[in-house]
Protein backbone atom coordinates (compact mmCIF):
# COMPACT_ATOMS: atom_id res chain seq x y z
CA UNK A 1 0.00 0.00 0.00
CA UNK A 2 1.21 3.46 -0.86
CA UNK A 3 2.51 5.84 1.77
CA UNK A 4 -0.28 8.20 2.73
CA UNK A 5 -0.02 11.21 4.98
CA UNK A 6 -3.00 12.24 7.05
CA UNK A 7 -3.42 15.42 9.03
CA UNK A 8 -4.18 14.98 12.72
CA UNK A 9 -5.00 17.45 15.44
CA UNK A 10 -3.66 16.30 18.79
CA UNK A 11 -4.78 18.06 21.95
CA UNK A 12 -3.05 17.36 25.22
CA UNK A 13 -1.90 18.82 28.51
CA UNK A 14 0.02 18.10 31.66
CA UNK A 15 -1.94 15.88 34.01
CA UNK A 16 -3.67 18.12 36.59
CA UNK A 17 -2.14 18.05 40.09
CA UNK A 18 -3.08 19.65 43.39
CA UNK A 19 -0.74 22.58 42.78
CA UNK A 20 -1.86 22.99 39.17
CA UNK A 21 -5.47 21.85 38.81
CA UNK A 22 -6.14 23.37 35.36
CA UNK A 23 -3.00 23.22 33.26
CA UNK A 24 -3.16 24.83 29.79
CA UNK A 25 -4.10 22.64 26.86
CA UNK A 26 -1.99 22.54 23.75
CA UNK A 27 -2.94 21.66 20.25
CA UNK A 28 -0.67 20.31 17.56
CA UNK A 29 -1.53 19.84 13.93
CA UNK A 30 0.72 17.17 12.51
CA UNK A 31 1.04 15.13 9.34
CA UNK A 32 1.45 11.44 10.03
CA UNK A 33 0.43 8.13 8.63
CA UNK A 34 -1.46 7.07 11.74
CA UNK A 35 -2.59 8.34 15.11
CA UNK A 36 0.22 6.56 16.91
CA UNK A 37 2.85 8.59 15.12
CA UNK A 38 0.77 11.75 15.54
CA UNK A 39 0.72 11.30 19.32
CA UNK A 40 4.41 10.53 19.31
CA UNK A 41 5.13 13.77 17.49
CA UNK A 42 2.92 15.63 19.93
CA UNK A 43 5.14 14.56 22.81
CA UNK A 44 8.26 15.29 20.78
CA UNK A 45 7.22 18.91 20.44
CA UNK A 46 5.77 19.20 23.95
CA UNK A 47 9.09 18.06 25.34
CA UNK A 48 11.02 20.63 23.41
CA UNK A 49 8.70 23.62 23.59
CA UNK A 50 7.03 23.18 26.95
CA UNK A 51 8.06 21.53 30.18
CA UNK A 52 5.78 18.54 29.67
CA UNK A 53 6.82 14.94 29.21
CA UNK A 54 4.65 12.04 28.17
CA UNK A 55 4.96 10.52 31.61
CA UNK A 56 3.40 13.58 33.29
CA UNK A 57 1.00 14.48 30.50
CA UNK A 58 -2.09 13.16 28.79
CA UNK A 59 -3.42 13.29 25.28
CA UNK A 60 -7.01 14.46 25.39
CA UNK A 61 -8.04 13.99 21.80
CA UNK A 62 -6.73 13.01 18.40
CA UNK A 63 -8.86 13.97 15.42
CA UNK A 64 -8.15 13.51 11.76
CA UNK A 65 -8.55 16.69 9.75
CA UNK A 66 -10.07 15.84 6.41
CA UNK A 67 -9.82 17.78 3.19
CA UNK A 68 -12.63 20.31 2.80
CA UNK A 69 -12.61 20.47 -1.00
CA UNK A 70 -10.87 17.38 -2.38
CA UNK A 71 -11.92 18.11 -5.95
CA UNK A 72 -10.67 21.65 -6.20
CA UNK A 73 -7.18 22.43 -7.38
CA UNK A 74 -5.31 24.62 -4.93
CA UNK A 75 -1.88 26.12 -4.46
CA UNK A 76 -0.33 25.14 -1.15
CA UNK A 77 2.41 27.11 0.54
CA UNK A 78 4.39 25.10 3.05
CA UNK A 79 6.92 26.46 5.48
CA UNK A 80 9.55 23.97 6.56
CA UNK A 81 12.38 23.80 9.04
CA UNK A 82 14.92 21.07 8.36
CA UNK A 83 18.37 19.89 9.41
CA UNK A 84 20.94 19.64 6.68
CA UNK A 85 24.37 18.13 7.15
CA UNK A 86 25.79 21.46 8.24
CA UNK A 87 22.97 23.30 10.00
CA UNK A 88 19.25 23.83 10.27
CA UNK A 89 17.41 26.00 7.76
CA UNK A 90 14.00 27.42 7.00
CA UNK A 91 12.36 26.95 3.67
CA UNK A 92 9.23 27.92 1.86
CA UNK A 93 7.94 25.50 -0.76
CA UNK A 94 4.91 25.49 -2.95
CA UNK A 95 2.93 22.54 -4.18
CA UNK A 96 -0.09 22.36 -6.40
CA UNK A 97 -2.75 19.78 -5.79
CA UNK A 98 -6.23 18.92 -4.69
CA UNK A 99 -5.48 17.97 -1.10
CA UNK A 100 -3.12 19.20 1.58
CA UNK A 101 -2.15 15.64 2.48
CA UNK A 102 -1.08 15.03 -1.10
CA UNK A 103 0.91 18.25 -1.17
CA UNK A 104 2.70 17.35 2.08
CA UNK A 105 3.62 13.96 0.67
CA UNK A 106 5.12 15.68 -2.35
CA UNK A 107 7.08 18.01 -0.10
CA UNK A 108 8.52 15.19 1.99
CA UNK A 109 9.54 13.36 -1.16
CA UNK A 110 11.05 16.51 -2.60
CA UNK A 111 13.02 17.20 0.57
CA UNK A 112 14.31 13.67 0.44
CA UNK A 113 15.34 13.85 -3.18
CA UNK A 114 16.62 17.44 -3.43
CA UNK A 115 18.19 17.86 -0.02
CA UNK A 116 18.66 14.31 1.21
CA UNK A 117 16.56 15.28 4.22
CA UNK A 118 14.86 12.29 5.77
CA UNK A 119 11.43 12.48 7.30
CA UNK A 120 12.66 12.80 10.87
CA UNK A 121 14.63 16.00 10.23
CA UNK A 122 11.89 17.82 8.34
CA UNK A 123 9.42 19.82 10.41
CA UNK A 124 6.34 21.27 8.78
CA UNK A 125 6.02 24.64 10.46
CA UNK A 126 3.02 26.07 8.67
CA UNK A 127 0.78 25.27 5.74
CA UNK A 128 -1.61 27.53 3.88
CA UNK A 129 -3.65 27.77 0.72
CA UNK A 130 -2.17 30.54 -1.38
CA UNK A 131 -4.22 32.48 -3.91
CA UNK A 132 -2.75 32.41 -7.38
CA UNK A 133 -1.60 36.04 -7.33
CA UNK A 134 0.53 35.46 -4.25
CA UNK A 135 2.38 32.36 -5.38
CA UNK A 136 6.11 32.83 -5.58
CA UNK A 137 7.41 29.79 -7.40
CA UNK A 138 7.54 29.59 -11.20
CA UNK A 139 6.73 25.93 -11.01
CA UNK A 140 3.32 26.78 -9.57
CA UNK A 141 2.60 30.01 -11.43
CA UNK A 142 3.22 28.42 -14.81
CA UNK A 143 -0.13 26.67 -14.38
CA UNK A 144 -1.98 29.88 -13.60
CA UNK A 145 -3.14 30.37 -17.15
CA UNK A 146 -6.80 30.30 -18.05
CA UNK A 147 -6.03 29.06 -21.57
CA UNK A 148 -3.36 26.59 -20.64
CA UNK A 149 -2.82 23.87 -23.22
CA UNK A 150 0.11 21.53 -23.71
CA UNK A 151 0.57 18.40 -25.77
CA UNK A 152 1.71 15.05 -24.45
CA UNK A 153 5.11 14.51 -25.92
CA UNK A 154 7.29 11.42 -26.04
CA UNK A 155 4.64 8.96 -24.98
CA UNK A 156 5.83 5.53 -24.02
CA UNK A 157 3.19 2.87 -24.55
CA UNK A 158 2.29 0.79 -21.54
CA UNK A 159 0.21 -2.36 -21.29
CA UNK A 160 -2.86 -2.10 -19.15
CA UNK A 161 -3.11 -5.83 -18.56
CA UNK A 162 -0.59 -7.87 -16.64
CA UNK A 163 -0.77 -10.58 -19.30
CA UNK A 164 0.40 -8.10 -21.94
CA UNK A 165 3.29 -6.93 -19.84
CA UNK A 166 6.84 -7.93 -20.79
CA UNK A 167 10.22 -7.20 -19.26
CA UNK A 168 11.94 -6.68 -22.59
CA UNK A 169 10.32 -4.87 -25.47
CA UNK A 170 11.42 -5.17 -29.04
Amino acid sequence: PELQYRQYQVVGRKIPTESDPTPPMYRLKVFAQDEVFAKSRFWYYMNRLRKVKKSVGEVLRVIEIKEKSPNQVKNYGIWIRYDSRSGTHNMYKEARGTSLNGAIKEIYEEMGSRHRARHSVVQIVKTDIIPAAECRRDNTTQFHDSKIAFPLKHRLPRSNKKSHKSTFKA
Binding site: N71, V73, R96, G97, K147, I148, A149, F150, N160
Partner: protein
Protein backbone atom coordinates in the same frame (compact mmCIF):
# COMPACT_ATOMS: atom_id res chain seq x y z
CA UNK B 1 -0.24 32.30 -27.75
CA UNK B 2 3.02 32.09 -29.61
CA UNK B 3 3.83 28.80 -27.93
CA UNK B 4 0.63 27.17 -29.05
CA UNK B 5 1.05 28.26 -32.67
CA UNK B 6 4.59 26.88 -32.55
CA UNK B 7 3.35 23.61 -31.15
CA UNK B 8 0.70 23.41 -33.88
CA UNK B 9 3.42 24.01 -36.46
CA UNK B 10 5.39 21.16 -34.92
CA UNK B 11 2.45 18.93 -35.64
CA UNK B 12 0.84 18.56 -32.24
CA UNK B 13 -2.91 18.44 -32.67
CA UNK B 14 -4.24 17.19 -29.34
CA UNK B 15 -3.60 19.27 -26.26
CA UNK B 16 -4.24 18.77 -22.58
CA UNK B 17 -6.66 21.60 -21.89
CA UNK B 18 -9.86 22.32 -20.02
CA UNK B 19 -12.66 20.54 -21.85
CA UNK B 20 -10.47 17.94 -23.57
CA UNK B 21 -12.09 14.53 -23.65
CA UNK B 22 -9.71 11.83 -22.57
CA UNK B 23 -9.81 8.06 -22.76
CA UNK B 24 -8.54 6.42 -19.61
CA UNK B 25 -6.40 3.41 -20.50
CA UNK B 26 -5.15 2.12 -17.15
CA UNK B 27 -6.29 1.49 -13.63
CA UNK B 28 -9.76 1.16 -12.12
CA UNK B 29 -11.34 3.54 -14.65
CA UNK B 30 -9.83 1.68 -17.59
CA UNK B 31 -11.78 2.02 -20.82
CA UNK B 32 -13.85 5.06 -19.87
CA UNK B 33 -14.10 8.53 -21.31
CA UNK B 34 -13.74 11.58 -19.08
CA UNK B 35 -13.41 15.33 -19.46
CA UNK B 36 -10.50 17.42 -18.20
CA UNK B 37 -11.84 20.03 -15.79
CA UNK B 38 -8.64 21.52 -14.48
CA UNK B 39 -4.93 21.03 -14.82
CA UNK B 40 -3.13 20.39 -11.57
CA UNK B 41 0.39 19.90 -12.66
CA UNK B 42 2.56 18.69 -15.51
CA UNK B 43 1.54 15.13 -14.78
CA UNK B 44 -1.94 15.35 -13.32
CA UNK B 45 -5.34 16.64 -14.29
CA UNK B 46 -8.69 16.88 -12.58
CA UNK B 47 -11.10 14.76 -14.50
CA UNK B 48 -14.76 13.74 -14.45
CA UNK B 49 -17.00 11.59 -16.63
CA UNK B 50 -20.54 11.76 -15.28
CA UNK B 51 -22.02 9.89 -18.26
CA UNK B 52 -19.42 7.12 -18.18
CA UNK B 53 -19.17 6.64 -14.42
CA UNK B 54 -15.88 8.40 -13.72
CA UNK B 55 -16.08 10.28 -10.44
CA UNK B 56 -14.41 13.65 -10.14
CA UNK B 57 -10.81 12.84 -9.29
CA UNK B 58 -7.16 13.41 -9.97
CA UNK B 59 -5.89 11.48 -12.94
CA UNK B 60 -2.27 11.06 -13.91
CA UNK B 61 -1.67 11.89 -17.57
CA UNK B 62 0.24 8.64 -17.91
CA UNK B 63 -3.08 6.82 -17.70
CA UNK B 64 -4.76 8.84 -20.32
CA UNK B 65 -5.04 9.08 -24.10
CA UNK B 66 -6.22 12.35 -25.60
CA UNK B 67 -9.12 12.25 -28.03
CA UNK B 68 -9.96 14.74 -30.75
CA UNK B 69 -12.87 16.21 -28.84
CA UNK B 70 -12.84 19.41 -26.80
CA UNK B 71 -15.96 20.50 -24.96
CA UNK B 72 -16.68 24.23 -24.69
CA UNK B 73 -16.65 24.27 -20.89
CA UNK B 74 -15.09 26.41 -18.23
CA UNK B 75 -12.45 25.37 -15.73
CA UNK B 76 -13.95 23.48 -12.81
CA UNK B 77 -17.45 23.07 -14.27
CA UNK B 78 -19.78 21.34 -11.84
CA UNK B 79 -21.25 17.92 -12.57
CA UNK B 80 -24.67 19.19 -13.67
CA UNK B 81 -23.31 21.67 -16.17
CA UNK B 82 -20.77 19.15 -17.36
CA UNK B 83 -23.43 16.51 -18.02
CA UNK B 84 -25.43 19.06 -19.97
CA UNK B 85 -22.39 20.02 -22.01
CA UNK B 86 -21.59 16.37 -22.76
CA UNK B 87 -25.15 15.69 -23.89
CA UNK B 88 -25.32 18.84 -26.00
CA UNK B 89 -22.08 17.84 -27.66
CA UNK B 90 -23.37 14.28 -28.14
CA UNK B 91 -20.04 12.89 -27.03
CA UNK B 92 -21.18 9.28 -26.91
CA UNK B 93 -22.60 9.40 -30.41
CA UNK B 94 -19.53 11.10 -31.85
CA UNK B 95 -17.07 8.78 -30.14
CA UNK B 96 -18.96 5.57 -30.90
CA UNK B 97 -19.20 6.44 -34.58
CA UNK B 98 -15.54 7.38 -34.82
CA UNK B 99 -13.03 4.76 -35.93
CA UNK B 100 -11.55 4.68 -32.41
CA UNK B 101 -14.95 3.97 -30.90
CA UNK B 102 -15.75 1.36 -33.51
CA UNK B 103 -12.45 -0.39 -32.91
CA UNK B 104 -13.27 -0.59 -29.20
CA UNK B 105 -16.76 -1.95 -29.81
CA UNK B 106 -15.40 -4.49 -32.29
CA UNK B 107 -12.90 -5.63 -29.70
CA UNK B 108 -15.68 -6.06 -27.17
CA UNK B 109 -17.77 -7.94 -29.71
CA UNK B 110 -14.90 -10.28 -30.53
CA UNK B 111 -14.22 -10.91 -26.84
CA UNK B 112 -17.84 -11.89 -26.31
CA UNK B 113 -18.19 -14.43 -29.12
CA UNK B 114 -19.17 -17.97 -28.31
CA UNK B 115 -17.23 -20.90 -29.67
CA UNK B 116 -19.82 -21.55 -32.36
CA UNK B 117 -19.68 -17.90 -33.44
CA UNK B 118 -15.90 -18.12 -33.65
CA UNK B 119 -16.30 -21.16 -35.87
CA UNK B 120 -18.74 -19.30 -38.12
CA UNK B 121 -16.32 -16.39 -38.20
CA UNK B 122 -13.51 -18.68 -39.25
CA UNK B 123 -15.56 -20.00 -42.16
CA UNK B 124 -16.40 -16.47 -43.28
CA UNK B 125 -12.75 -15.45 -43.14
CA UNK B 126 -11.80 -18.42 -45.26
CA UNK B 127 -14.48 -17.45 -47.76
CA UNK B 128 -13.27 -13.86 -47.85
CA UNK B 129 -9.68 -14.97 -48.34
CA UNK B 130 -10.71 -17.27 -51.21
CA UNK B 131 -12.62 -14.53 -53.01
CA UNK B 132 -9.78 -12.05 -52.53
CA UNK B 133 -7.13 -14.39 -53.85
CA UNK B 134 -9.25 -15.26 -56.83
CA UNK B 135 -9.77 -11.60 -57.65
CA UNK B 136 -6.03 -10.88 -57.29
CA UNK B 137 -5.09 -13.80 -59.54
CA UNK B 138 -7.58 -12.62 -62.19
CA UNK B 139 -6.23 -9.09 -62.06
CA UNK B 140 -2.66 -10.33 -62.43
CA UNK B 141 -3.61 -12.43 -65.43
CA UNK B 142 -5.42 -9.49 -67.03
CA UNK B 143 -2.42 -7.24 -66.48
CA UNK B 144 -0.07 -9.57 -68.41
Amino acid sequence: NIEKTNLLKMGFKRFVQVGRVVYINYGPENGKLAVVLDIIDNNRVLVEGPTTGVERQQMPLKRVNLTDYVLPIQRGFRTGNLTKAINDFDLEGKFNSSSWGQRLSNRQLRAGLTDYQRFELMLLRKQKSYLLKRAVAKAKKAAK
